[in-house]
Structures are given as structure tokens and as C-alpha cells.
Amino acid sequence: MNDKKLLEVKDLHVSFFTPVGEVKAVGGISYDLGYNEVMGIVGESGSGKSVEAYSIIGLLQSPGKVTGGEVLFEGRNVLEFSNKEMQAFRGNEISMIFQNPMTCLNPVYTVGDQLIEAVCCHESIGKDEAKRRALEMLTMVGINNVEQRFNQYPHELSGGMRQRVMIAMGLICHPKLLIADEPTTALDVTIQAQILELMKDLQQKTQMSIVFITHNLGVVAEICDRVSVMYAGRIVEQGKVDDIFYNPHHPYTMGLLRSMPNIEETRHEKLIPIDGTPVDMLNPPAGCPFGPRCEFCMNICLRENPPLIQVSEGHRASCWLYVEQAQIACERGEEIE
């Protein structure tokens, strides 16, 4: 069971065919996710982290299209599912929760209605049984007065409560994989902590795997087992949480870690941002996309995209800095064949 992978993303390419040109949102990413594992996907806005998640669950809408690669869920290529298969798949074996709880629930139907719908479109159970399940889920996500809340409309609930309802909807069919697209970003900090606690708790109880998308490294440290750092549609570093935090190899990861404000710093120390601006995805330059912003940028970085290099067990980074042999060969004036 340890070797069998729940999710394998292989060389996924996604592009958006807009009126002004093709935007290569995701340019070849690969990662694996085992059972009972939490993978964090970190990156800034525009790095492609949400887009690749949408491709996995089949929610990518035109003008976006998957232009290459495979996504294997328990061995089946999800990208080749028919519409009916995808419909049965979504919400059932794989679930997704989104960023903005204020707008993610249909305002004209009650919470209970929407929960019952979530379970009834996959399992043929009676209304009473469905209601029982729904109430059970609402209790599990930490909502009080479940009977009352069941009959209320989304606008009568607070942001934190709505996010809990979203989580309940996502879990009601006991999926094997949950994709969480920045679920805490739109919430107050204290509520963020509560929701994170809840998710950790639920994950341990249900043993489902989670793909947790965020731009907040603090959240990653809380809940993730492994991390993939994305930049400009590519994975630049991948590894266990400890590896990434204590032994970062890619300059972008280092920059991210360095830019986190430290509560112990004195007020006189400046924050250290990453210089430069994000890449124009319409005309991505050749070479490493992070090059112009990187303090270690070398000439080869501007010419060629670096390969993904195994740093240690389970830890990989895509950077020219670690190609030692090439360096040696260069010193000797030789070429690698």
C-alpha cells in the first residue's frame, strides 16, 4: 500500500488560448501523492497552482485546455474520462473546496438543500438518510445548532461557518482526495487557525489525502507532509516539509522563506522582498523563468531551462547551481556529450 500512488501527475501542460495569444499557464509539472498524505502546492498568484488543480478535477473551462501530460488517479487517466465518468468522479472520489466562502454557496437554496444534493447525486439514499448524513457532517465540521443551521440560507452564516459548510459538502461522500484551493486565504487570521485545525483533525480521522494550495508558507508548515514550490507554471523545488524549510535549494524558495516577517526581528530591520516582477506568461522567455529575479543568475540560466535535480531522497530542485559536473567540465573547457 505504501508504494501504490493515489495521484500521479505526469508532465502536465495547460494553456489558455486567449484572443491575444496562448498563455502557457502550466509548463510541464510532475508530482506524486500517496494515500493519507498532504501535499502543499506553494506559489504566488499566476504561478499556475490553481490551474493544475482544476485540470485534475476536470473543472478547467475554455479558453483553458490541457495540452499534454497525464493525470493518473489510482491508475486511471482522469484526463480521458468521458463527461459522465467525470461527473460521477467529482464530489465522490475526489472533492474540491475553494477560496471564497462568501460566493461559493448558492444564495437561493438552504445549506441543508445543498448538502443533501451533494450526497444524493452520487448515492441513491432516501431523503431522511441523506439528512441524517448531512447533520452528521455539519457536527463533524464543528458547527453548533446543526438543526437550525441546516435550514438557514448561506447569507445568514459567517465566513468561517460557510467554509465549514463547504468542507462538509466536500467530505460528505468520503472522497479519497481533497483539493483545497487556498481555503483559508479569505478568512480572518483567527478563523484561519480554526479551519486549519479542523482540516488537520478531519484528515487524521478520515485518512484522506489532501492537495493544499496556498501562497502562505506558515499554513504549509502547519498541515503539509510534502511541498511543491511552483513558479511561472513549473515546479522549481519539491520535497518533504522539513527539507524545504530547513534546507531550501532553489533561490526562489530561499527568497520566499527570507521574506517572511519574523516576529522576533527588531523593528529596524527591513523586510527582504524578492526583487523584480512576475513573468509575462504570454511570452515566457527561454531559460529559467526566475532568472532575472535571481541573485545567483548565471549566463546559462538565461539560455536554458534547468533540469530537475535530485538533491536527496525525495528532495528535488530545478536549478543550475547544483549541476556540479557541468561546472567542472566548464572549468576544464570540455563539453558534455
Partner: protein, 310 residues
């Protein structure tokens, strides 16, 4: 809820009063009068006719007289178009005809317009959508008298399959109702389409797709209820206007209805008819708007029109 209704009712009566006064003022301020364009009567005859109908009294007095009469249910008599016939009789005679046509046309407009709009939104970019766009844009661009005349010529004359004048048989309803319905149907279809397109891109639709809900259910259960609100807003004034009759349709197809009569009375300066019909129309409009507001409450639980705290 009761308090809300009472408040609305009082406001309505006040509005009706204001509209009545405004109309009265406008009618009298604009040059011209009911008897001027007939074969020019001699000044004595003119004075006598004006005295008979109370037109020689100062405006303020006339207005107050009219309002008090109206409150008693006396709408006066027609000056010109049907000499001395009580206005109330005229309206009760003509209104049912216009209303019948209007309701049928309304039904056509809604029952065809909304599904067409949904289809267009769902198949956005498809040739089906483009075709529907062309038809509906034509529908709002062609003047109604052009459409009515062309339909008349094609179906009534060249193909000779439908009657052209009056309302004798059920077939004779087809042409006028369809001509009357074409503009609202096109407008409703366009409105539904753009509203649907807005709604389809909302995040709760994405959530529904992520849950695995079937596409039909997404359109008819999740999207439709949210997108129908602007359409209902439009239906309020539309209903009031369409059941009071369209001058064009009634003229082209020679149907004795309130719409045609109203326009003729304005041109002919038949004051009592103008006043009564304007107030009648305004009353209809206000009640339709009230109905629409009540319907809102059933569709969208967020809307709280009563202003009462939950």
C-alpha cells in the same frame, strides 16, 4: 408584512394623486383643446360647450372637482370621441379585449423567451447562439408597425391562411398576438441570456460542478433561479403596458381596444378619457411593481423588501 402592505398602499394612492395632477396640468398647459380642431365653432357655441363640461372654471377648481368625482367613482363623460358616453363604460368595454390579447402575448413572450435565452447562454459561441442573437436583435430593432404589416401581408394576403381584421375566431388571435409578443419575447430572451451568462460564471456554479451535479440540473436548478430576477423586474412594467393595449397592433389589425382609443383621445384632447386611462394605467403599473416585489421574496431569500428586521 401587514405594515409593509399598508405602507405601500398609502404610497400608491399618493403617487396616483400626483400623477393625476401632473397629467391634468400637462393637458391643460399644452396649447389646444377638445373643441378647437372641429369645424371652427363660433365663440358663443364654444363658450356654451365649455360651460357644459365645466371647462370654463379655473384649473384648480376643475382639478378638485375631478378628484372628488373620481373618488365617488364618477369618471365623467367623453367629450369628443363618443359624445357623452360615460368614460367608465368605455373603459370596461375596451379593456377586456386589450387584456385578452395582452395576456396571450405575454404568455408567448415568457414561455418562448426564457427557454430561448437559456439555450443561447448554454451554447454560447455555437451557431445556435449566433442565430438566436440575430433573431432577437431583429426583434428589438424592427418597429412594431413594420412587423405587423409584413405579417399581415404574408399570412393574410399572399398565403391567405389567417384572418386579418377583428377578432372573430381563434385563428384571428394568432397574428396580432404574435406581432405583439415579438418585441418582448426578444427582449426577454436577450435579458435571460446575459443574466444566465453572468450567473454561469459565478463561483457557486463551480462548486455545484465540483460536487458532480449534472449539467441539466446546474442550468435549471442552480442557474435559472438566480438569473430570472432581472427578467421579473422587466415583467412588471411590461405586463401593465401590454394589457392596456398597443395602438399599433390594434390599428393594423382593426381591433377595438383601449390602446388605440387612448392615443386617439390624446390627439383629440378628450380630457376625461385621458385622465381616467392615465390613472388606470398608473394604478396597474403600481400594482404590478408591488406584485413583482412580493415575487422577489419567494425567489431570492436575500432580498428583504419589507425592511423589517429578521
Amino acid at each position: 408584512m401587514i405594515r409593509f402592505l399598508i405602507r405601500r398602499l398609502t404610497m400608491s394612492v399618493a403617487t396616483l394623486l400626483i400623477i393625476a395632477c401632473l397629467t391634468f396640468l400637462l393637458m391643460n398647459l399644452v396649447p389646444g383643446g377638445p373643441f378647437l380642431s372641429e369645424k371652427a365653432p363660433s365663440p358663443e357655441v364654444l363658450a356654451a360647450m365649455e360651460a357644459k363640461y365645466g371647462l370654463d372654471k379655473p384649473l384648480g377648481v376643475q382639478m378638485v372637482t375631478w378628484i372628488s368625482d373620481f373618488a365617488k367613482g364618477d369618471l365623467g363623460v367623453s367629450f369628443r370621441l363618443q359624445k357623452n358616453r360615460p368614460v367608465a363604460d368605455i373603459i370596461t368595454d375596451l379593456f377586456p379585449t386589450s387584456a385578452k390579447l395582452g395576456f396571450i402575448a405575454l404568455g408567448i413572450a415568457v414561455l418562448l423567451g426564457i427557454p430561448l435565452g437559456c439555450v443561447a447562454a448554454y451554447h454560447r459561441g455555437h451557431w445556435l447562439d449566433s442565430m438566436l442573437q440575430v433573431i432577437t436583435t431583429l426583434g428589438i430593432a424592427i418597429p412594431s408597425f413594420v412587423l405587423a404589416s409584413i405579417l399581415l401581408v404574408i399570412f393574410g394576403v399572399y398565403w391567405n391562411i389567417l384572418p386579418t381584421l377583428g377578432l372573430s375566431s381563434w385563428q384571428s388571435y394568432l397574428l396580432p398576438c404574435f406581432a405583439l409578443a415579438f418585441y418582448p419575447m426578444s427582449y426577454i430572451a436577450r435579458l435571460t441570456r446575459s443574466s444566465m451568462l453572468d450567473v454561469i460564471h459565478q463561483e457557486y456554479i463551480r462548486t455545484a460542478r465540483a460536487k458532480g451535479v449534472s449539467p441539466t440540473k446546474i442550468i435549471f436548478k442552480h442557474a435559472l433561479r438566480n438569473s430570472v430576477i432581472p427578467v421579473i423586474t422587466y415583467l412588471g412594467p411590461l405586463t401593465a403596458g401590454i394589457i392596456t393595449g398597443s395602438f399599433v397592433i390594434e390599428s393594423v389589425f382593426n381591433i377595438p381596444g383601449l390602446g388605440r382609443y387612448y392615443i386617439q383621445s390624446i390627439i383629440g384632447r378628450d380630457y376625461p378619457i385621458i385622465m381616467a386611462t392615465t390613472v388606470f394605467y398608473a394604478a396597474l403599473l403600481i400594482s404590478m411593481n408591488l406584485l413583482v416585489d412580493i415575487i422577489y421574496k419567494f425567489i431570492d431569500p436575500r432580498i428583504d423588501i419589507t425592511g423589517e428586521v429578521e
